[in-house]
């Protein structure tokens, strides 16, 4: 910091810039690295390989197994030593000849090297000097076992050695196994222990070998006095041999597992990650450079979650396209629908300009007024239909009896249209529905207005409410001219209007039934039309009842 402060301003600045540049580059590199490792395939690979390695280290060290083998070997050695000590003991001070002959007899059965010392540490007998019939393990071959030259073993051993060198705490070097070889008097700590009447043991490195030599010393007793000691020694070469073999096969298994993990990961990433990146490319391709929705997702055939995702996305884009088409056609419908009253106003004003007859002028002015009212009504209907979904969500729903609503509506329509009669049939039981009552009234009014508008003087409008399993079914039937068969569905289209001469006037917007259907569908029901058997239109409204 002080160094930088001492620099001239300019250099300071340049150094700061350079610093920022490096940190920027570092940040980018770090960013790339993070991105690399956050890729699903990399994470899968790391996870799979770790899964194999975590227990592998435990197995590779095989500490417990080794300890057990050593323990076993030591016990076997002590056993051999005890037998020898028992044979030697009980006869007063030790005699070299006798000890040698006992050793010779025993050597045939024992695989460890046995030595006998007297109470002055003087070597009396040694199975190692008994000629060729000596256990090979006592003087192991100078060369490393075959197994240690195996390539895979060497690789595994390298890993393990690095692990033990850098991770495990260092152990003090062991004394050499040739400790006793040149001495007449075997003065070792374990023998001292044995001559004191206890059990002594030591571990020494075998000369030129990786294996260790275990030494166990046992006292030889005669009438309760220690008269000498038996030294049993054996190299751990055999143990090491089986350990090496075990390590090798373990390591082979680990290698195979790692290989399997890599292959599995690659396989998984091709079946998961590849289709996901394909989806991502598709998503990018769907919008063109100006951000407009162009293409659509292809639904995959695959049955897994990615297949589901692709199908969901395909459905999403399909709906988006549908909605866009709807919006476009709606805009064009609206403009078309506005042009008729506009054309009418324009022709009327054109005529007004040249017309002198007051009666005709009056007629054209009225026509313009009617069209202006109609444009206003059209505007509010358009606003209503575009907001219907949002409004239905915002409006609170209530649970109410549809019978009561219908009865109230019947009363008001009978007052309004005294020339017609309204026959209402409802079930005995309440018909509870859950919806926004205002909207349902709007739908019912639309149906009743239509029926009223199309009915000849003195006709009866039939209103039947029934229930069908979980639905409330309402039919409104009139005695009017009916609906042409080909228009039974199109009457629900926006701006569709078919009215025979003199019926309904110019008050309609062509949106009433479209709005009614949108409301009913929003409430989970449906609205359809058919012609009655005796002529006249029948509108059928189905709404789920509240249970």
């Amino acid at each position: 910091m002080t160094e930088i402060a001492a620099l001239p301003d300019e250099r300071q600045a340049s150094r700061r810039d350079a610093g920022r540049e490096t940190t920027g580059r570092e940040a980018r590199r770090r960013d790339r690295l993070i991105r690399f490792f956050s890729r699903i395939s990399i994470r899968l690979l790391a996870f799979n390989v770790l899964l194999v390695f975590l227990p592998a280290f435990g197995i590779l060290s095989l500490e417990t197994y080794e300890d057990e083998l050593l323990d076993y070997q030591e016990r076997a050695m002590v056993q051999q030593g005890r037998v020898l000590a028992a044979a030697l003991g009980g006869h007063g001070p030790l005699d070299g000849e006798r000890a040698q002959s006992i050793l010779e007899r025993m050597n045939r059965e024992f695989d460890a090297r046995l030595r006998v010392v007297d109470s002055d540490f003087l070597l009396l007998a040694d199975s190692g000097r008994l000629g060729p019939r000596i256990d090979s393990s006592a003087t192991p071959p100078a060369e490393d076992p075959e197994i240690r030259r195996n390539l895979i073993y060497r690789f595994g051993n390298f890993l393990y050695q690095s692990y033990s060198r850098f991770v495990l705490p260092p152990e003090p070097p062991l004394p050499h196994a040739g400790f006793y070889s040149t001495q007449k008097k075997l003065v070792g700590p374990e023998i001292e222990q044995a001559l004191r009447g206890g059990y002594g043991s030591a571990t020494r490195r075998t000369a030129g070998q990786r294996s260790l030599t275990l030494f166990s010393a046992l006292p030889v007793l005669s009438d309760g006095d220690v008269v000498g000691a038996v030294l049993v020694s054996k190299s751990t070469f055999q143990i090491l041999g089986s350990l090496y073999e075990l390590r090798l096969s373990t390591f082979q298994v680990i290698l195979l597992s790692v290989l399997a993990a890599v292959v599995l990961t690659l396989l998984v990433s091709t079946t998961i990650v590849r289709p996901v990146s394909k989806l991502q490319r598709e998503a990018l391709a769907i919008l063109d450079r100006r951000g407009r929705l162009k293409g659509r997702f292809k639904a995959y055939q695959r049955l897994d979650e990615i297949g589901d995702l692709s199908r969901a996305l395909a459905e999403l884009t399909r709906r988006l396209h549908e909605h866009l088409r709807f919006t476009e056609s709606f805009a064009s419908d609206v403009s078309h629908e506005f042009k008729n009253p506009l054309a009418s106003i324009r022709t009327a004003t054109d005529l007004l300009e040249d017309e002198d007859d007051p009666a005709a002028r009056q007629r054209f002015v009225q026509m313009i007024q009617r069209d202006v009212t109609r444009l206003g009504r059209l505007l509010s209907a358009v606003r209503q239909i575009t907001q219907i979904d949002a409004r239905l969500d915002a409006e609170p729903t209530e649970i109410f009896d549809l019978r009561r609503t219908l009865e109230r509506l019947r009363e008001s329509y009978e007052l309004r249209s005294p020339g017609l009669s309204y026959a209402l049939h409802v079930p005995e039981e309440p018909v509870q529905i859950e919806a926004s009552p205002d909207r349902i009234v709007q739908v019912l009014e639309n149906l009743l207005d239509n029926a009223t508008g199309f009915s000849p003087e003195g006709a009866t409008i039939r209103i039947d409410l029934t229930t069908d399993s979980d639905d409330a079914v309402l039919e409104v039937a009139d005695q009017g001219p009916g609906i042409p068969e080909e228009n039974l569905e199109t009457i629900f289209d926006r701006f569709f209007s078919y009215r025979p001469e003199g019926k309904g006037g110019t008050g309609h917007t062509g949106l009433g039934l479209a709005i009614a259907r949108a409301i009913v569908e929003g409430a989970g029901g449906d609205l359809s039309a058919r012609n009655g058997n005796g002529g006249g239109a029948v509108f059928c409204l189905r709404l789920p009842t509240h249970s």
């Binding site: 064009s332 403009s335 078309h336 042009k339 008729n340 009253p341 506009l342 054309a343 009418s344 106003i345 324009r346 022709t347 009327a348 054109d350 005529l351 005709a360 054209f364 026509m367 009617r370 069209d371 042409p484 228009n487 569709f496 209007s497 078919y498 001469e501 110019t506």
Partner: protein
């Protein structure tokens, strides 16, 4: 009556088909005031019931109508008569192409909201064309424009390219006339609107592009080498000066 040619201008019969009551009333009123007989119908099916029996002299059809729409009715009328002049009233811009692109044989069309004067003027032109078609040509009436291989008859509103007749709507004829009258001069879209729709100021510049496209198509169908209408970017259109090389 169907085969009858009106002996006098303004004495013909007009069938007006529109589902809009107010339009029927105002347009009917204006045309009747011009001396025509106007029969109004509220949809194609209703009109066909009467017109099947007896064709009018000119038909004015709305396109969007319940039951039989204007295009269906036009097809039926054309099947009965090749020469009956038909004017469409359209309220959708995309209908232009359907009307003329489908070559239903409409003689002209107007977009809602249209000017009443424009409509009356178009109807008059169609009657005049009808009236002059069969009458012998007299030198006094002869009002012709010859530009290269193009001949325009301003009296009959007909066009010939190298002797072959080219069927043009009134609007197309007026626009072609405006261009060919001054070969080599650039006409802006606004000027062409003025020429094509002398009584209407509500037409957008872009409709001119559709008309030019259709004019070129009709002329190249007569003669594939026709390339006399040039687009001058940023300005408008120009009729090629005869003899001038490109």
């Amino acid at each position: 009556m169907a085969k009858e040619t009106p002996s006098e201008l303004g004495k013909g019969t007009i069938a007006l088909v529109d589902d809009e009551e107010n339009i029927r009333e105002t347009v009917g009123y204006a045309l009747r005031k011009e001396g025509y007989r106007v029969d109004t119908y509220s949809d194609g099916a209703e009109a066909w019931q009467t017109l099947e029996e007896k064709l009018p002299d000119v038909a004015v059809l709305d396109i969007m109508m319940p039951r039989m729409d204007g295009l269906d009715l036009c097809r039926k009328l054309r099947a009965k008569s090749e020469t009956l002049p038909i004017i469409f009233l359209t309220s959708r811009d995309e209908e232009f192409d359907r009307v003329l692109g489908l070559e239903l044989g409409a003689d002209d069309y107007l977009c809602k909201p249209f000017s009443m004067r424009e409509l009356v003027a178009r109807v008059k032109v169609l009657f005049r064309r009808l009236h002059l078609a069969d009458s012998p040509r007299t030198a006094a009436e002869e009002k012709l424009i010859d530009v290269g291989g193009l001949r325009l008859d301003l009296q009959r509103y007909t066009a010939h390219w190298q002797g072959a007749p080219v069927q043009l709507t009134v609007t197309e004829f007026l626009i072609l006339n405006a261009l060919a009258r001054h070969p080599g001069h650039v006409k802006s879209r606004e000027q062409l609107v003025q020429e094509g729709y002398p009584h209407d100021s509500y037409v957008s510049d872009r409709t001119i592009d559709s008309h030019i496209k259709r004019l070129r198509r009709k002329l190249t169908r007569t003669d594939p080498s026709f390339d006399e209408i040039e687009t001058v970017y940023g300005l408008g259109y120009r009729y090629r000066q005869p003899g001038a090389s490109d």
